[in-house]
């Protein structure tokens, strides 16, 4: 298990390195068309062949990794910040504010994410730019994912608020801001870190599903979801190299699962 975990961390590090600078690794730009060779099989020039528009599949996979692999943590960070602010506020303030935030969290938790994402993503203008589509998709992911971590943060803050060391700090005249920064935040941080790591594979999978439904990142910008749409025709049985994005996705999400399995995030 230790070896598998080390391998998973190494794999994630390598993929992160590739995702950070795709232009170093890709031989072509993701939108460059080789019109003389559409639907080309794998060769030395195009290791994964070319798509129907003559674009290098490997280069698109590398650029797609940047979109899916780097923006999911950004969305996770956004949802964790929102969860920390709202969950912390609910736990500290209590009363009406607490009830309102909990009710809002319940509302978000009772709706399947994918359903809300479908609704909003489908309402974007038809001529939305690829950069706008990718920003909106991941912003939505970040904004919708705050509810579950916020409930965890709220529970932790409420528990910490009534703990002995906070009581002692108060008794010694510790000011509210100092109490927050020196006592509460360091104790809630590991929980938020856990929520952050757990959210990343969820966001990657959600973006992939949206992309496969045609509601993810707009063309010509590649993402794993968009690349997996090539499987729609069922040609992957005759052309197994079409499964490359699926294999990469399984490896990345599986690696996150392995890494998270042994983490001890308890306070």
């Amino acid at each position: 298990m230790k070896t598998a975990r080390a391998a998973a961390i190494a794999l994630l590090a390598v993929i992160a390195l590739i995702a950070l600078a795709p232009e170093w690794w890709a031989t072509n730009r993701y939108e460059t068309q080789f019109r003389a060779t559409p639907d080309a099989p794998p060769s030395a020039r195009f290791p994964l062949g070319t798509d129907a528009l003559g674009r290098d599949r490997l280069s698109r996979l590398i650029y797609g990794t940047r979109v899916s692999f780097l923006l999911a943590p950004a969305a996770a960070l956004l949802s964790c910040i929102a969860a920390a602010a709202l969950g912390g506020l609910a736990g500290l303030a209590g009363g009406f504010l607490d009830r309102t935030i909990v009710a809002a969290a319940d509302l978000f938790l009772s709706l399947p994410w994918l359903f809300l994402l479908l609704i909003v993503r489908a309402c974007l203008p038809l001529n939305v730019s690829p950069a706008a589509s990718v920003t909106i998709t991941f912003l939505l992911l970040g904004m919708l994912g705050w509810a579950a971590p916020a409930r965890v943060v709220r529970a932790a803050v409420r528990k910490l608020k009534s703990s002995d060391f906070v009581f002692m700090a108060r008794a010694r005249g510790c000011r509210p801001w100092r109490l927050l920064w020196r006592q509460l935040v360091p104790n809630v941080a590991p929980i938020l870190l856990a929520q952050f790591w757990v959210s990343i594979p969820i966001y990657i999978l959600t973006e992939t599903t949206l992309g496969m439904l045609g509601l993810g990142v707009a063309e010509p910008l590649p993402s794993w979801g968009g690349l997996l749409r090539e499987l729609e025709g069922g040609y992957f049985i005759a052309q197994p190299y079409l499964l490359a994005p699926a294999i990469l996705l399984a490896l990345v999400v599986g690696s996150f699962q392995l890494v998270l399995a042994r983490e001890d995030f308890s306070i």
Binding site: D106, L107, T208
Partner: protein, 277 residues
């Protein structure tokens, strides 16, 4: 519960109305439409743009059993939902029952036979692999094998149920009273039915509510890809056609179903906690 459902409906209406491009209508691109038709279409869009007034009107009609009219399907929404709901309910039934049967069925031996590490590793690795793939991709792969959408839901749900149930059962089988019972010669099925399952019941019931919510969420991409005539496909079509009344109704229905599953699970958990084991 009613407040939460209404809030979900209103939230979805607001989300759709204030999304960029909400007032764009693809039908305006049709060059065969005359100026009068375009003006009528824009006037109707303008009338529908007041979310508050429309939502109140919708609630008034809802009291009389009128869910409104779907422009994209050219049919009353109540009849559309009534037509599609049985297919989705059947799928959810197959998915949940199959998922639980396989997930729990695979988890029990992991808890029971602590030395069966190879079986544990193999089943956990398979579950991990399936959990690493999105429901839409599983639907593509299953579709190639001619599998029905209900079967795809089984494959989506079983690894999730297995993973939770495995941890619960390993913990329950490791309890001292279980070891005592085994030492006294109590049979395995008796240990399972009288000690393990009752002890894990509250968490398993909570997992049931979560799995129902997961099934509803997974039904949308699965139905859209498998072309199954259910509510998930209807939701996808409504989203792509920007059919606001249909989307609001489906959001409220999905919220109602999810909350009902949670309340059912909570009430059963309370009942279970109150009854002597």
């Amino acid at each position: 519960m009613a407040g939460l459902v209404l809030a979900a409906g209103l939230a979805s209406a607001v989300l759709v109305r204030y999304s960029p491009g909400a007032l764009v209508d693809q039908r305006e691109l049709n060059q065969r439409l005359g100026e009068d038709s375009l003006a009528a279409m824009r006037a109707q869009k303008a009338r529908n743009s007041n979310v508050g007034a429309n939502f109140l009107a919708y609630l008034r009609n809802l009291v009389h059993g009128d869910l409104g009219y779907s422009e994209s399907n050219n049919a009353p929404i109540a009849s559309l939902i009534a037509d599609r709901a049985p297919a989705t309910l059947r799928e959810l039934g197959v998915g949940l029952s199959g998922g639980w049967l396989i997930g729990l069925g695979l988890a029990i031996p992991v808890g029971r036979f602590r030395r069966a590490w190879m079986y544990d590793a193999a089943s956990s690795a398979t579950a991990g692999l399936l959990l690493s793939l999105p429901a839409a991709l599983l639907a593509y792969l299953c579709l190639m094998e001619g599998a029905a959408s209900g079967t795809v839901l089984v494959i989506v749900l079983a690894p999730r149920i297995f993973r939770f149930a495995r941890n619960l059962l390993v913990q329950a089988y490791g309890a001292h009273h279980v070891e005592m019972a085994r030492a006294r010669g109590v049979r395995e099925w008796r240990i399972l039915s009288a000690h393990i399952l009752p002890e894990a019941a509250p968490q398993l019931l909570a997992l049931f509510a979560a799995s129902a919510s997961m099934a509803i969420g997974a039904a949308i991409p699965v139905e859209a890809i498998c072309d199954a005539p259910g509510l998930g496909r209807l939701a996808w079509q409504a989203a792509t056609a920007r059919d606001l009344p249909l989307l609001v109704n489906l959001t409220m229905l999905v919220t109602l179903a999810t909350i009902a599953a949670v309340i059912l699970s909570e009430s059963m958990t309370r009942k279970d906690a109150g009854s002597p084991v």
